[in-house]
Each structure stands twice: as C-alpha cells, then as structure tokens.
Subunit: 321 residues, 2 copies
C-alpha cells in the first residue's frame, strides 16, 4: 500500500489548477510504488498520476529523475511523461512534499513472469540503455559497492537472528567485491530497480516502464544482472535457465554485450543479489511500529546469492556464445 | 486504506474477460471504502471499479445492494451502475470472494463540507428517498435499536477505559430508546451511511453517491438524522446551525417532512449518534494486531450525543417552520 499522506481537498485542487490539464473530476489514492504516495487524477482532459515524494526520495535527485523520464519518452521509450506546471516546472510542492504529475500509463505488471515476459524485459532494458545513451545528466548510484559495508554494519549482528551465519556470509561477500569489482565496463543510465512490478505489459507485450527513482549512472550490465535476479528465479529460488536465455537474448537483440561484460556477469549477478539482500535486511530489522508495508524477505536474496556463488561463466545464465 | 486482497494476474484477467467490457489495459488497487477491496480497471472501453467484498459484507445481502444501485441509476440518481457479466449475473466470485464491477463515477469527496455542500447533500438524500420509493426489495437495518444493546454488551466495561462513565451513559441511552423509539414514521430505502466520504462533488455540485453497503429499509428521517450528525458538526464537535438549516432546507425542497418526522427528529439524531458511537466503540476495542485501518474515534460521537441530548425541538437543528 502506498498512500502515506492525506492531501486536503483545497490544496489538491489548487495544485492541479497550476497545470494546464483541465478541471479536476476525481482523485483516488492508489497502491503503487512503495516509497511514495501516488494518486490517480481524472481531469476534463485525461487521466494522470500524481506522486508525492516521501522521505526515501532525496528532493535533490528529482530533477535527474524527471529529466530522465522526459528524455526517455522523447526517444520513444514508453514511460510516464512528466507534465510541466504553468510556471514551467515539472516538480512542485504539495502537502509539504515535492510533487509531480505524470501521464497515466496503461499496462499490467505481472507477478509471475513467463519466458515471453523475460524476453520482452531484456529487449526493453536494452532499449532503455540505448535511449539513455545521450542523456546529459549524471547521478551516482547510492547503492553501489562502497555503500554495502555501511548497510551491513547497520544490520550488524542482528542479521544472525534472521539466519545463523548471515552477518559473516554478507561481510565475506562484501570484502570480495570491494577487492575485485570491475570499474571499466560500459556505463550509462541504468534503471537499477527493474523488478516485475515496475514493468507493464498488455497481452505479453511490454507496454511501459515505471518508477525511475533508483535510476543512476552505472555499468549497463549491472542493470541486466538486477533483471536476471528479479525475473529469472522461480518462487523456490531455483534459477530458470529458459527465462535467463530469453532475457539475455532479448537484451542482445538490441545491444550485444562486450567480452568484458560477459566475463563480469557472474560477479555483477552476485553483487546485485547482495545489494537487494542488504537493503531488505536493513528494512526487515527496522520495521517501524504500525508500518503499512510488510518488508520483503531478505533470505530470498541470500538464496539467490548462493546460486550465483556457484556460477563461473555467463553461459550458466543462458548466454549464447 | 482498502486493498485487503491481492488478486493473481491470470484470475483477474479471466474474471474481466467474463464481462463484455473490452480488453483489460490497467488495474490499480485504490484507497476507497473501508470494508472492501477496490480496484480501478481500465479497459479498451472505459474505466470501472471492481469491488471484492470482504468479511464485513454479508454475501446474502449483495443482491439487495446491487439491485438497489441498478434501480436508483435507472431512476436518474447518479450512483455506480453495476455491470452484468456475460452470464447475466452482476455478482461473481474472484479470489474466493464475491465480486462486482461498477461504472467509474467522477467526483471528489470533501473532508470539510461547507454550507453549499450541506444543501446539496440534503437535496441528494431526498432524491435518493424518492428514487427508492418503488424499489421492491426489503432489507432490515442490521444496526437498528434492537442491535444496540448487543453492541454495548460486546464493548462492556472496557468502554470506561476510553472515557470514564461511558459504559453507563451508553446503556442509559439504549434503555431510553428501547422504550420510546418511534415505529410509525414513513419508511423506505435509506442509505444509512451517507458520510462525506460517500458523496462526490464537482465544483460544489453533488455529482454522485457511493457505497450502498449499509443501505436498508428503515425510517427515511433516520437517514436525515445520520446526515445531520456527519455533515453539520465542526471538528470541535460544535453544531453548525447554518449547515443544519442548509441540509434540512435542501431535503425539504424535494421531500417535505411530516409533522411526526419533525417531532421525532431530535430522538432520531440521538439514536444515530449512538449507533455510530457503538460501532466505533466496538471497533476501537477490537483492533486486530497489524491492522491497516486506524479505527475512528468513538468519543466524537459521544460529544455529538451530548449535544443531541440537550435538543428538544427540530428547530434547534435549523428546521424552518
């Protein structure tokens, strides 16, 4: 669930009146995204999504996210298009928070992706990387290798209350990556959170990408590693090689991987699993009382990490060479 | 917040395919209503609301609620119109629950109604009573006078943990109503829960009524008493006579009250305040662990009840005679 802030009627009406999008006819709080409050707006012109950015999004990063969505939409990628207010700005303030209005995007996210979905998302990810190639702004990945140790320290020994030995396993993995993380791979804009809930489909065809609030400048192949983690494992944490083949082939149909990227893929997959393990671990150990959102299971990514630790060749993910 | 049930993609698609409403393009869980799960649907034809009826709604009552909405919409009242599935039924099953699809209704509910809103809702309530006059089905009010004592007994002495003496005050009030509740007032279909969150406006004009899941057959003037309670008090529990005048005049512009209704109004207002005090009290004392919904304050209705206990004449609510 994701409506954390109630907006008084008059403030909402005044805010929407600042955009040239017609008269407000309806507002519904919607359950989308986990970091922000989202509202569906209906006006005399169209449907829109209004997002109030809550604490987890740094307001200083909003120009990057908003400009990126504008840039990608301008390159033909289907993603929400920010609407500029009459004062020319795409980021306003509502109920004491930064706020933006974007176009309503049709499509359904899938909870259990099939092989066709994996092929589509591989292709879509490569199209995103292509469309972002000439995006002029930069944003450092705030969950990169150097950020993992502080997260592990925040979790501390309490990690072992979730799974015996987890704190030690995590720290060994961090040390290994700190020594050997590749820093010379092709870089560019990455989505960095392209999980199934952020991809829309209509009838098995990808119809749009949403939630660019982790997007940053990093190794393109790391984005692919995140997708291998989030799209190609079954509910029992077994890796589905057919899905891996489909995702990688879909990606390479648009943007073939370099030899360095292929060689790095197993480590990037381990790193991606570790990154989600760490943030889930910290969230799990710090659930605020009365929280609306049930934290995601960190051990799902502990199991995926264990799989990656046994992989030494990108062909084990289904890469055809 | 009101999405209690997650629906698997394939079940949702199969369910919607059973209606002749086009292809499914988007589904959003929305925060509307408190007893049921609601989803906004977008299809190639239009926008709709899908409701999954959770435990608080008795499935045996659904034919009454659905037929009532069909009847009222057929009489020109603006309310959600149930959509029949291709098998002819307006109530199906989804995710193990009864489910219905209704048309999407534009409009915004107001959190702080003004005098114009009160006039509109008074008129709208009378139009509802008129439109329901020839509705052939009946449903007993499950929160009528006879149901109040069991609610008070369920709360028991714990009521005093919320406010000293509350258990005794409530029981004295119940005994008084059990002896003297009027049973000869004009009856018909009443909404029975026409709070501001269930009334939509566009630019201060009433644009629709929703949430008929407490609707029943009872004294029409009792519905008016519920509205006086829910629309005409300020946040500090003071009664706004100007709003009362507007609401009553709006009602009587369509359906003038009989002398018996006028005479009974102060008692009906006391009873209505007591009914919401009792259900809120039980909810307050029985919050399940991990509940999403914060229970509403019972003492708001204790304060309103105290106001009504000092009223002896309907003119004190703003009725012009």
């Amino acid at each position: 669930m994701a409506v954390y802030t109630e907006v008084p009627d008059d403030e909402m009406a005044a805010f929407v009146a600042g955009y040239g999008i017609g008269e407000l006819l309806a507002v519904k709080g919607i359950a989308e995204g986990v970091s922000n409050s989202n509202f569906l707006l209906h006006t005399t012109q169209a449907f829109f999504i209004l997002t109030l950015y809550e604490e987890r999004v740094d307001a200083a990063d909003l120009p990057f996210f908003i400009s990126l969505m504008e840039h990608l939409a301008g390159r033909g990628l289907i993603c929400p298009q920010p609407v500029k207010a009459q004062n020319g700005s795409a980021v306003g303030r509502l109920a004491g928070r930064p706020a933006a209005i974007v176009t309503f995007l049709d499509g359904l996210s899938v909870r259990r992706p099939n092989v066709a979905h994996c092929a589509e998302v591989g292709r879509g990810l490569a199209l995103l990387h292509q469309a972002g190639a000439d995006f002029p702004m930069e944003r450092a990945n705030s969950l990169a290798v150097r950020d993992w140790r502080p997260l592990a320290e925040k979790a501390g020994a309490a990690a072992d209350t979730i799974s015996p030995g987890l704190a030690r396993r995590v720290m060994a993995e961090i040390e290994s990556h700190e020594r050997s993380w590749p820093d010379d791979l092709p870089r560019g804009v990455i989505h960095a959170d392209l999980f199934p809930n952020n991809v829309f489909f209509i009838k098995d065809r990808l119809s749009g990408l949403i939630d660019f609030y982790f997007a940053c400048t990093d190794a393109l192949a790391y984005d692919l590693a995140i997708c291998l983690n989030s799209w190609c494992f079954e509910a029992d944490s077994s890796f589905n090689l057919t899905k891996g083949q489909a995702l990688l082939a879909g990606y390479e149909s648009v943007r073939p991987l370099s030899e360095a990227e292929v060689a790095a893929l197993p480590q990037l997959c381990r790193g991606a699993a570790l990154r989600f393990l760490l943030t889930r671990l910290v969230d799990w150990l710090n659930v605020p009382p009365g929280a609306f959102v049930k934290p995601l299971d960190p051990l799902e990514y502990d199991r995926k990490l264990a799989f990656h630790q046994r992989v030494s060749d990108a062909r084990d993910y289904g890469l055809k060479r």
